[in-house]
């Protein structure tokens, strides 16, 4: 009998964690390429409206077992994959196996019973997704759940949110047609783990400015809300990085060098 070489096979003891990660990606992306290499899997994809981007990495060490003999690009419908993963129960383990001959992904959920789902893969794209190259001047690290509450408050009032970081304060403002909200968090607040502000970088020369000024930028709350909701389901700590009128990078802390981060482009408000 001909024994086929395994191109890609990985297992995780907690299927729910994997489901949450895929859920976090699916909030922005419908279809994406998963790049499997001997080191782990990576996904980087721009949302179809080119406003936001997700960057996901799950290294070999974050899986319980991991085997990848040849780098492989698997294009999957993320929403379809999530539909299957929503079937997971607690205490279930998951095995993901790529059946190269049939171009199908096999997902096996194991507890008392063994359930095997098979889903097709799509034609991978040849496009390389570039990373935003942005010098960030402000960085705020905080509890993901607190950030989620704040964003929910703002979303109840407006479609956009203005973020402002000064050396000792993180300020969030949203104003709608009728009402407005301002949330202020001092450096000493329990929800804040870290605030850091450096001088802005001149985009032309690449040189830092002589003085430090507060970083201020406005973002679409619909997109930011989806990002925060998605990430806070998979992680407890978030860090936000941005500079005045530049994209924001939202990163969720992951175990074992796992990576889940998003970029969101700013809105330009008339002054």
């Amino acid at each position: 009998m001909l024994v086929e070489k395994t191109v890609f096979r990985a297992t995780m003891s907690d299927a729910r964690l994997f489901r949450n990660l895929i859920g976090a990606i699916s909030s922005l992306i419908e279809e994406a390429d998963f790049n499997a290499t001997p080191e782990g899997i990576k996904l980087r994809s721009m949302d179809p409206s080119h406003i936001a981007m997700v960057d996901f990495e799950w290294p070999k060490a974050a899986f319980d077992t991991y085997e990848c003999t040849t780098p492989t690009r698997l294009r999957l419908s993320v929403s379809n994959l999530l539909k299957l993963l929503k079937r997971t129960h607690s205490d279930e383990s998951i095995e993901i196996f790529y059946d190269e001959a049939n171009k199908k992904l096999n997902i096996t959920l194991r507890n008392k019973i063994v359930r095997k789902f098979i889903t097709p893969t799509l034609e991978p794209s040849t496009e390389e997704v570039p990373t935003p190259k942005v010098p960030f001047s402000a960085r705020v690290k905080l509890a993901a759940a607190s950030l989620r509450d704040i964003i929910d408050d703002a979303q109840a009032i407006s479609d956009n949110v203005r973020l402002e970081v000064s050396p000792d304060k993180f300020l969030i403002k949203a104003s709608g047609e009728m009402s407005s909200v301002a949330i202020e968090m001092d450096k000493g607040s329990d929800a804040i783990l870290e605030i850091d502000l450096r001088p802005e970088t001149d985009p032309k020369t690449g040189q830092p400015a002589a003085t430090t000024t507060p970083a201020r930028a406005t973002y679409n709350l619909n997109y930011l809300g989806e990002i925060i909701r998605a990430g806070s389901g998979a992680s407890e700590v978030t860090s936000l990085e941005f500079s005045t009128n530049m994209p924001i990078k939202v990163e969720f802390e992951m175990p074992q060098q796992g990576r889940l981060l998003y970029y969101l482009a700013p809105r330009i408000e008339s002054e």
Binding site: S27, L28, E30, E31, M46, D47, P48, S49, H50, I51, A52, M53, E128, P130, T131, P132, K133, V134, D159, N220, N222, Y223, E226, M246, P247, Y263, L264, A265, P266, R267, I268, E269
Partner: protein, 427 residues
């Protein structure tokens, strides 16, 4: 099915089912029909008092069904039957309850159509869909038919000459409680309807879409859904007509959107428009990924105000409570158009209602959007040019629409992420 999601919010009821007299408070018109302008208009057109001076009505039911939601989870369900032996110029009773054929009819004719039907009512509970009594099972049978069915309706007493105005469905004329009803001929049930309704395991959304794909009219799908004949059997329930209209628009829209999201983006700005019956619908398509906004302006108000609801590419989680029924009724024909064209686009719908409109239902937005999108567009290469084209076609000043529009603002102010990326080759 969380049908309750589709209930009409108060703003929608006030605008869609209101006039200068009642402002959407239906009790005002029900208790004082002599004040209701629509009733007065109807009375001038149909010899109503003489026509309803009896308890037994015979005639072809269009077919139709109406389920009122006033004391939900109890419903008043029943079929409409013509009150006049023949209505001049109408050879086909089906037109009396088929909005897809109404756009080229005058408002007077539409009021006449609606007022020429008497509606039988029987009090039922939502769960009765699975276990109907004799009358409800006849109502269900009628709702499945494609063509008019001869029906005999015995009411407990002579119906009162009234008109019921509703936010989404067309208004209803006289009605009365059913003593008994009979179908005096066999119903003609199309094969797909028979097949899908007798399948007790297929989900509601899947059932709705499967009927749509087999060419069953939206009007009939809504009817079948409303009488609780779709979905997994143990979950089947009756759905008030008002809610089912919007539910079907929304469910069909969602299924089509899944496919539209895969299509390439439109290459230019386009304006499509159509006007009829005192309503003006302009659709502006933008060369972007799918996003959608409905803007609604009422010239009937003393100071016309523009209402808005929108969704970005990632969709919306909550109910579009400003525009509600019209939001989904216009979104569906736009998605149908994009699917035909194999394109995705941003879409902003401008819905303007003139003073001479009387509340006849949300269908006119859906049908006008369909007609608009089957015509020739004005194509341009900038948002400003298209907006000014739209502005020329509407009565409410363009700036009022723009101030209320979230997507125009988004288009102008949101930067793309590409502006901040450098390809790795260049780095």
């Amino acid at each position: 099915m969380q049908s309750r999601l589709y209930r009409a919010p108060s703003g929608e009821s006030r605008r869609e089912a209101g006039c200068q007299v009642c402002h959407g408070n239906r009790l005002v018109c029900i208790q004082n029909p002599s004040l209701c302008p629509v009733y007065q208009r109807a009375k001038g057109l149909v010899e109503i008092e003489r026509a309803v001076n009896k308890t037994v009505f015979n005639g072809p039911s269009p077919p139709g069904v109406f389920l009122g939601s006033a004391d939900y989870p109890f419903l008043r369900a029943g079929p409409p039957v013509p009150i006049l032996p023949s209505i001049d110029g109408i050879g086909d009773a089906a037109i009396l309850d088929d909005p897809s054929r109404w756009l080229d009819t005058s408002i007077d004719d539409l009021v006449t159509y609606r007022f020429s039907l008497v509606r039988g009512k029987t009090r039922v509970k939502v769960a009765d869909a699975r276990n109907p009594d004799r009358t409800l099972s006849l109502v269900q049978e009628l709702a499945l038919a494609r063509t008019p069915t001869e029906t005999e309706l015995h009411l407990t007493k002579k119906p009162q000459a009234r008109i019921y105005i509703l936010p989404r469905s067309a208004p209803h004329g006289p009605s009365g409680s059913i003593e008994k009803m009979m179908l005096t001929e066999n119903t003609h049930v199309p094969r797909p309807v028979e097949k899908v309704t007798s399948d007790r395991d297929i989900g509601t959304q899947e059932g709705i879409f499967s009927l749509y794909e087999r060419g069953v009219s939206q009007q009939q799908i809504t009817r079948v859904f409303s009488v609780g004949q779709l979905g997994v059997f143990k979950n089947r329930r009756l759905v008030p007509t008002e809610w089912s209209i919007t539910a079907v628009d929304d469910i069909l829209g969602k299924s089509i959107l899944d496919r539209v999201r895969d299509f390439p983006q439109l290459g230019d700005f386009r304006v499509y428009g159509a006007e009829a019956l005192g309503n003006n619908v302009q659709v502006l398509l933008l060369p972007t990924a799918w996003m959608y906004e409905a803007l609604e302006g009422w010239l009937t108000a003393s100071t016309p105000q523009v209402y808005s609801d929108h969704e970005f590419h990632i969709g919306r989680r909550d109910y579009p409570s400003n525009i509600a029924g019209a939001y989904h009724a216009v979104k569906l024909p736009i998605l149908e158009f994009l699917e035909r064209e194999h394109r995705q686009a941003g879409a902003i719908a401008f819905l303007e209602v003139d003073r001479d409109w009387v509340p006849l239902g949300v269908w006119r937005f859906r049908e006008l959007a369909r007609r608009a999108l089957s015509g020739q567009p004005i194509v341009s290469s900038s948002l400003e040019a298209s907006l000014s084209e739209v502005g020329q076609r509407l009565s409410i000043p363009l700036r009022s629409w723009i101030v209320s529009s979230k997507l125009v603002n988004h288009y102008k102010r949101q930067l793309p992420l590409d502006q901040f990326t450098m390809s790795r080759k260049g780095a």
